[in-house]
């Protein structure tokens, strides 16, 4: 009876996972479909990918997306890591207010964040461009980095830093030789997260984008609005591929992170 129940549960989850992956698979498969009208399979082709690579606007959008993502990732990782390190020291006044401020961007609906920045920039007469998009991306990425790195610092505990100081390391040496190596996996995980969020972002970007800062998601949206086409399938497949790679990389670093925390608890 238990065995049957087990089987049932596993069959059920298989169905749900299939539901999760079906649409993705459809996109990927049909990106190679010779037919323009999608639903009927008419043979394998790479034409749609080729036309993408010859499409100047697509290349532009891709370059914009990468440019914005790289800068946003760099800045948010540095700011976020610094904040996480600072927050790990106790006795900070207004600690709960600061924590709230950090969690807020994650809770607030993307629409609101996007429109608030649009109003902000228009009030200050700042023209919309790659800069405004980068600023927006950094704003929502910082929180994720802070949370990821803070969690790691908390898991590490104060003892290691105290041990280093006891052995003669100055605060700077402690940071360089003990703290930094140990939080590096978390920093990388945070950076990967920021990068992924940035290249995937549509809602917020669409509010603050200017004429020359079209990102890939924004471009895709434009195409979707004009109707279904296999080029979108191809572009989507590329985006899916990039995302999958990033997620797997992120997982790898997450694992390495976890290994180091468990090692501390081993003697018990």
């Amino acid at each position: 009876m238990k065995f049957f129940r087990h089987r049932l549960l596993f069959a059920y989850s298989f169905v749900v996972l299939a539901f999760l992956y079906l649409p993705i698979l459809v996109l990927v498969v049909y990106s190679f479909n010779r037919s323009r009208i999608n639903a009927v399979w008419e043979g394998f082709t790479l034409d749609w990918y080729l036309s993408l690579f010859q499409n100047e606007r697509v290349i532009d959008a891709l370059l914009n997306t990468l440019f914005i993502a790289i800068i946003a990732t760099l800045v948010s990782t540095i700011l976020g890591t610094a904040a996480a390190i600072g927050l790990s020291k106790n006795k900070i006044r207004f600690r709960s207010a600061i924590d709230g401020l950090i969690y807020l961007p994650i809770i607030i609906p993307e629409v609101v964040m996007g429109l608030s920045l649009l109003i902000f920039f228009s009030q200050l007469h700042i023209p919309l461009s790659k800069l405004t998009v980068i600023i927006a991306h950094i704003t929502f990425c910082i929180s994720y980095v802070v949370i990821i790195v803070s969690a790691r610092m908390e898991g590490m505990g104060k003892q290691l830093e105290e041990a280093a100081q006891d052995l003669g390391a100055t605060p700077w040496q402690t940071f360089r030789y003990v703290t930094l190596p140990l939080i590096m996996p978390a920093i990388i995980a945070g950076a990967l997260m920021s990068f992924t969020l940035s290249i995937d972002d549509f809602v917020i970007s669409s509010f603050v984008t200017g004429p020359d800062s079209t990102t890939l998601p924004i471009y895709i949206y434009g195409m979707v609005k004009r109707g279904v086409s296999p080029e979108i399938n191809a572009l989507s497949t590329i985006m899916i591929l990039i995302t999958v790679v990033l997620v797997i990389l992120s997982e790898r670093f997450g694992q390495k992170d976890a290994d180091q925390t468990t090692s501390k608890r081993l003697p018990f």
Binding site: D166, G168, D259
Partner: protein, 331 residues
């Protein structure tokens, strides 16, 4: 005897309450001193103040005649073995041990020499290249010790280092640590709540309770001449009696037992009280008897050596007595 550490009028307050009221303590060079007390008595706080991780609210700390009250931990010639070892997980055993030497920029040659010496001393040669996650509790402990002593500190602080290990390993390491201390000649300041451990290893013991020093003395003095009720009951087992406004204690092993169930047996003159056996516990090397005294609420603890006669039985009437010189008067 030269003083190595002096705590002068040390006080520690945390926001609203005082953890350590004014305290004075002198630790001699080369001694093995244990700070003993129940959880929360302030012993770890005291140790951390010596190490430099806590600043005393008032008072001064002197290390080898030098005032270190305001010095950071990395400026003090003191090293600590942490309770959970605090080994650096991303470094090998060898790298962990050499850390302090690296920070002080000791020459590579000198480093090699000292590391080899310490590794041999703590028997870690086979494990040099391993990471902490690949070591057992006892091995990690030895690495923590090696990492500390390789720096030739003037004082080694140990914060309940054996707490996480099982009994046999703990007893073995107690002996090892004692030998190590004798060999190195460094001053050891050891913190524990385990009084057997303290008695086994220390030259002197500081018994602490609620931030105050109850007594400072050799293990013998602490055991046989406790100065307060707390020390008398915290160390070993003890029987407490009150006479008028005086309290005194008699150790269970000093209680003399007199059988009463033989009719007509002459009561010996030393017999002081009567009662009956409430419980008998077999401890392997002896029996522990719980004796309920007549006309008193007191339950006495006495030891009976294992001999041919067998233990007193539950419910058996019994007489107890002790020598006057075995009474210890407490404040």
């Amino acid at each position: 005897m030269k003083s190595m550490i002096q705590l002068v009028d040390i006080e520690k307050h945390f926001s609203d309450h005082s953890v350590i009221p004014p305290l004075n303590l002198t630790i001699h060079e080369g001694e093995f001193l244990t700070i003993l007390g129940p959880s929360g008595c302030g012993k770890t706080t005291l140790l951390r103040m010596i190490a430099g991780f806590e600043k005393p609210t008032k008072g001064d700390i002197f290390l080898d005649q030098k005032r270190v009250t305001d010095s950071a931990p990395y400026q003090r010639d003191v090293n600590m073995v942490f309770q959970h070892y605090a080994l650096f997980p991303h470094m090998t055993v060898e790298e962990n041990i050499s850390f302090g030497l690296q920070m002080k920029k000791v020459s590579a040659q000198e480093q090699m020499r000292r590391i080899e010496e310490v590794i041999a001393l703590t028997r870690l040669s086979e494990l040099k290249k391993r990471k902490p996650s690949q070591l057992s509790g006892g091995q990690q402990q030895r690495v923590a010790i090696a990492r500390a002593i390789v720096n030739n500190p003037k004082v080694l602080l140990l914060d309940e280092p054996l707490g996480a290990l099982d009994l046999q390993l703990r007893k073995d390491l107690q002996i090892e640590l004692k030998h190590l201390q004798k060999k190195l000649g460094i001053t050891f300041v050891y913190v524990t709540h385990d009084q057997e451990e303290a008695m086994a290893m220390s030259d002197r013991i500081v018994v602490m309770n609620q931030g105050k020093i109850e007594q400072l003395g050799t293990p013998y003095e602490i055991y046989h001449h406790p100065k307060s009720l707390f020390v008398a009951t915290f160390i070993g087992e003890n029987n407490i009696f009150s006479q008028g406004d005086q309290i005194f204690s008699v150790r269970p092993e000093k209680i003399i037992l007199f059988p009463l169930n033989q009719s007509g047996a002459a009561a010996p003159t030393q017999e002081k009280k009567r009662g009956w056996v409430e419980d008998v516990v077999f401890l392997g090397n002896m029996y522990k008897l719980f004796i309920k005294l007549e006309n008193e609420p007191t339950v006495l603890i006495a030891y009976q050596q294992v001999n041919g006669k067998g233990p007193y039985k539950e419910g058996e009437p019994i007489g107890v007595g002790w020598l006057k010189e075995d009474e210890v008067i407490l404040n």
